[in-house]
Amino acid sequence: MATTEKLMAVTGNQAVAMAMKQIDPDVVAAYPITPQTDVVQSYSQYVADGEVQTEFVTVESEHSAMSACIGSAAAGARTMTATSSAGFALMWEVVYVAASMRLPIVMTTVNRALSGPINIHCDHSDSMGGRDSGWIQIYNEDAQEAYDATVMSFPIAEHPDVSLPLMNMYDGFIISGAIGPLRPLSDAAVKDFIGEKPAVLNLLDSEHPVTFGPFDGLHGWYFEHKIAQNRAMEAALPVIQETYDRFAEVTGRQYQHLMCYDMEDADVAIVVIGSAAGTARTVMAKLKAEGLKVGLVKIRTFRPFPTAEIARVLSGVKAVAVLDRADSFGAMGGPLYLEILAALYHEGVHTKTVNCIYGLGGRDLYPQNIEDVFRMLADAAGGADLPQSRVYLNMKGE
């Protein structure tokens, strides 16, 4: 059996729709929204053409999409959906319900800015807003990563120690709509990798009737259930890595929570999420030729956050720039920056840091912007101070 198919050229959305087709989940309930649309559009075509067995539920809104997913997953069905931006925001209430009911729903969230001003382009403000919702969050750089992450999702989400919903992100338009290389697995290899859904308590088992979503009473156990959710997140960290490792055995593509590039001998480093990592690597090649010791850390697993690991990886560098494609208004910095500062403090790592905000509402991030950041870091490593407030990359007018 050939494990992988030939290299092909597809958009990020096509790659994910293809992975979903190979997974052939029991239920997909989804509502179209730019830039996620052709994931569910392609999938509905697979359904119409009889290429999958999936029950496709066309809903009237994203709130209904997630609600249908919750009912479906509680019934014991493998359930997937996809969304973006305002669609994710409309799901908000039930996104929390999915996590607290411990339902292993898998959702693709194609990153797009939240309004306003109304904007359809990429940034991470949609999914970053959901970082405390109790979903596992995996961020992907390109179509291949998005495809691979989709294939790896159910073994993580359904793992008995985890039982949590999982969302996969990739950058709207930049990855969702642009054509890139993809080496898919064979259908059989995908089926083999994800295996059968583990048996769990469910609503359709009439021999063992159960109640989902009960009222917790006035003085019940809400508090303990929240603690259990956090313990499941902690348990997910090793499960995700084990799944990454098992995937590597099949495909040769080895993923980590943090993907490190040239970090062994780096003096300075950029930490980034998503497609900007590719831009950063091209800049690094140029700067390394000049003799600058630059490194890059790309965050894949954001929830659960690999706190100890990021601190260890950054402990050897003299200056770090954290690039955020979302802001946390009124906070000390963007969401990734806050996370990393906390990790460094917690692990006792004292290195110079700066927060760079980029790409909001799809603002371009040019190689020159990244080069400027690396040069600022190199100066800091040589003794200069780093800005205490946010540095905005490619801002107009200043």
């Binding site: 308590l201 063992h208 917790d216 303990e224 259990a228 313990r231 499941a232």
Partner: protein
């Protein structure tokens, strides 16, 4: 299944079913909701015609019927709403402040 929750007040996060699932059907009967009742229904057996209206109207299934006859109220779950008393066609049910019964006992 039989779900032993006798010690549930002391359960920590790992003792509960994931996602607050209740793994047993119909166990709400073990949850005594009658404690907030302020008025208690009392049925006069002489007046009662056994029409069973009270049984059908009670929103909490708290009118106990044995065979074909109303015999009692389930005071662990009766909330004292007086629907039974209101619907009884012959006014066989009257409502009495719970405090009266407390004083007696």
């Amino acid at each position: 299944m039989s779900w032993d929750i006798s010690d549930i007040k002391n359960w920590g996060p790992d003792k509960h079913e994931k996602g607050a699932v209740i793994p047993e059907a119909g166990n709400a009967v073990g949850y005594r909701t009658g404690g907030w009742r302020t008025n208690r229904p009392v049925r006069d057996d002489e007046t009662c015609t056994q029409c069973l209206f009270c049984y059908f109207y009670c929103p909490d299934s708290s009118v106990i019927v044995e065979g074909q006859e109303v015999v009692d109220f389930d005071l662990d779950h009766c909330k004292g709403c007086a629907q039974c008393a209101t619907e009884c066609p012959v006014d066989a049910i009257t409502m009495h402040p719970e405090a009266e019964f407390r004083r007696k006992s």
